[in-house]
Symmetry: C2
Subunit: 400 residues, 2 copies
């Protein structure tokens, strides 16, 4: 029996326990022996629950027990998760986490520490929930130079945008529905403002380039300004609005951004609906690939955590090298990225539109008193300049 | 420098050389040192080609050179690939292959031999070309019991079915076009009869259940009977015809089949068009996941081979365990699988249809003199019995 501990018995932590129980036999067969959870660290007690006897309140109990070889961190947030994880690695224990905030902020440092201690620090569940993407990047797409990685990596906003399109509903109503269904949190800021997606693309970009990418450097727009009228225009164009988190190779570097895009039917991410996530990758020899699945949820996310446990149990004596140094990557200016843009203005601005943007394609979605149009391909900087020249822009959305 | 050898300098073998050259620096960074191809085994000489000096005609030159640590097999076919690969593993060399025929026939034996010799036998490129699927099954989806794996795993037939739908074209015309474009071979039997897809689902099923699945045991139908009229019906139903290779958990075992299916728009594989491949996986805790990408082609396939080289170079001293024993899995009878069926009969058989199949849904595709209808869900055995009772069935296609 390999002894493990779980830190944080919330949704994911209890899911990990459940997956270890449900698939006990298959997991033991793959590892060569069983996995036994010896401790669960939580502030709470769980009287009457069979796991009550495993509960400890001090992380040092786990640190000091040499029998515990694998630790799962499912607490969320940077602190105290960081202090606890660091102590576990320093004590020579393998650690897996589902915590994107921790990985985005401290990934490079914890990877280096794990290598020094010849253990593993894994974080498959931190991006894309149950979708295998971290390990494929680290051990499958290694023959390629990754030129683009673009994902729908936030299930809450994808659910909301899908629902807005299905029901012709407005943002506020759909947010309430998502909160009622448990897809959005009481304070939904991190999801709807794109902060969650931003941390995830920071992690993916760090893995792709092998250097530290700070999420604070990534230009991030959420979906709070998307309205039912925008959805009408999208439908008129046969498109869907999706919140994309994207990194593209520009010269020797990468430019990263999180923002809503209007996607055509032919785009690989067009059909990713509801709470599903997908990550599109373009490699210089591989070409296009996509990874699709449940981006969140108790059991899918726990499935990824437990797969890390299995991988660590199969590599108890070996550090699997992860390319992610603490050397900071200076991102290319996102304003150099080129797109077409979809724009809505007042109907009376037609002459001004044509003076500023030249020949544009108009879109009729039956909205009275206004004009919708699609620009030529422009850099972000060019568009910003033209939009400010024009003034009174009701809405602008990138057009992929 | 890690020394390697390539056996078979055809499309994939030369692609491997190309990828190692194009992405030399990135690969060396990931491995920690460079990869140098010391020998290329081929029957031919390549006068004037820079690789000419690496050409050898006797595989024993490679076997006997202790400096060569990694061998790539891209010859195709079971023999002499099997003899050569076995000799390389016995000599303590790591081997990667793109050869599905070899892996389907001898996978379990070669995996066991690699484990015995503490080297690795890898075969990422044997299924799905550039799409990472073998390593994800072996190291990412390990927390799950896989209840279904269904793929579009043959690019030739998917190109042909896509083209038939786009151009309302008949099978024979599209086959000629595919041959002219190099997507189909001169003798296209292995692709169009489903034999290639059959070997691939045999490999995937073996990995999923950890036991040997013989491809000869898998019921296999190709696409040779699909006509332009079938495509018209598919369109009338808002569906597409796709050749699916599928394994599903039935009780304690798996039932596997290769056959064309009519897929609805909501099916995850509906939008996989042209030469692209995709593999859908359903795990008992993960839920649905899908892996999508270039299923064939020189560089994408070589990308997967080179990713194996990198993985082996990072594990020179460690056998990564692969669950695939030589113990044979007795597949469940495919006749117990249930589907709806789409059927075409002569218009005069309407009464007979209703006597035999009861209430069916008719489909109007404007084909005169005939009737198209969809049955209730039936087992393969039940459908076979009813279809033979009815007699004169023009066409039947499974309806997913």
């Amino acid at each position: 029996m390999i002894k493990a501990a779980i830190m944080g018995y919330g949704t994911i932590g209890s899911g990990v326990m459940e997956v270890l129980n449900i698939n006990q036999n298959g997991i033991a067969k793959r590892v060569g022996e069983g996995i036994e959870v010896k401790y669960i660290l939580d502030l709470r007690d769980f009287p009457g629950d069979p796991i009550q006897e495993k509960i400890v309140h001090d992380y040092k109990t786990i640190v000091e027990d040499a029998e515990v070889k694998i630790v799962v961190e499912t607490m969320g947030g940077v602190e105290p998760a960081y202090t606890f994880v660091k102590a576990m690695l320093e004590a020579g224990k393998h650690v897996t986490t589902s915590n994107k905030a921790l990985v985005a902020a401290k990934g490079a440092e914890l990877i280096a520490l794990a290598e020094e201690k010849q253990v593993n620090f894994m974080f498959e569940a931190s991006v894309g929930g149950g979708i295998p993407i971290i390990r494929p990047l680290n051990s499958c797409l290694t023959a390629d130079e990754i030129e683009e990685i673009t994902g729908i990596v936030n299930g809450t906003t994808n659910y909301m945008l899908t629902k807005m399109a299905e029901d012709n509903a407005d943002f506020e109503d759909v947010l309430k529905d998502a909160q009622a269904k448990g897809y959005a949190e009481k304070d939904p800021t991190a999801d709807i403002e794109g902060y969650d997606a931003c941390r995830k693309i920071a992690i993916l970009t760090s893995l792709v380039c092998g250097q530290q990418v700070d999420f604070e450097d990534i230009h991030t727009e959420g979906i709070t300004k998307i309205t039912a009228a925008d959805i009408k225009y999208a439908k008129a164009m046969g498109r869907k609005i999706k919140l994309l988190a994207s990194s593209k190779k520009v010269g020797d570097g990468y430019a990263a951004m999180v923002a809503p895009y209007l996607l055509p039917k032919t785009h690989p991410l067009y059909n990713v609906n509801g709470v599903f996530n997908a990550i599109f990758v373009h490699g210089n020899v591989l070409g296009d690939a996509m990874f699709y699945g449940s981006g969140a949820g108790k059991l899918p996310t726990a499935s990824a955590v437990v797969a890390d446990i299995v991988e660590m149990a199969k590599h108890m004596d070996k550090n699997i090298k992860v390319e992610w140094s603490s050397q900071k990557l200076k991102l290319a200016d996102y304003k150099a990225i080129s797109n077409q843009f979809f724009v809505r203005v007042s109907a009376e601005d037609k002459t001004a539109v044509e003076n500023v943007f030249g020949a544009v394609s108009y879109v009729d979605a039956g909205e009275s008193g206004e004009l919708g149009f699609v620009t030529e391909k422009l850099t972000e900087a060019e568009f910003e300049k033209k939009a400010s020249e024009l003034g009174n822009v009701i809405q602008s959305i990138r057009f992929a």
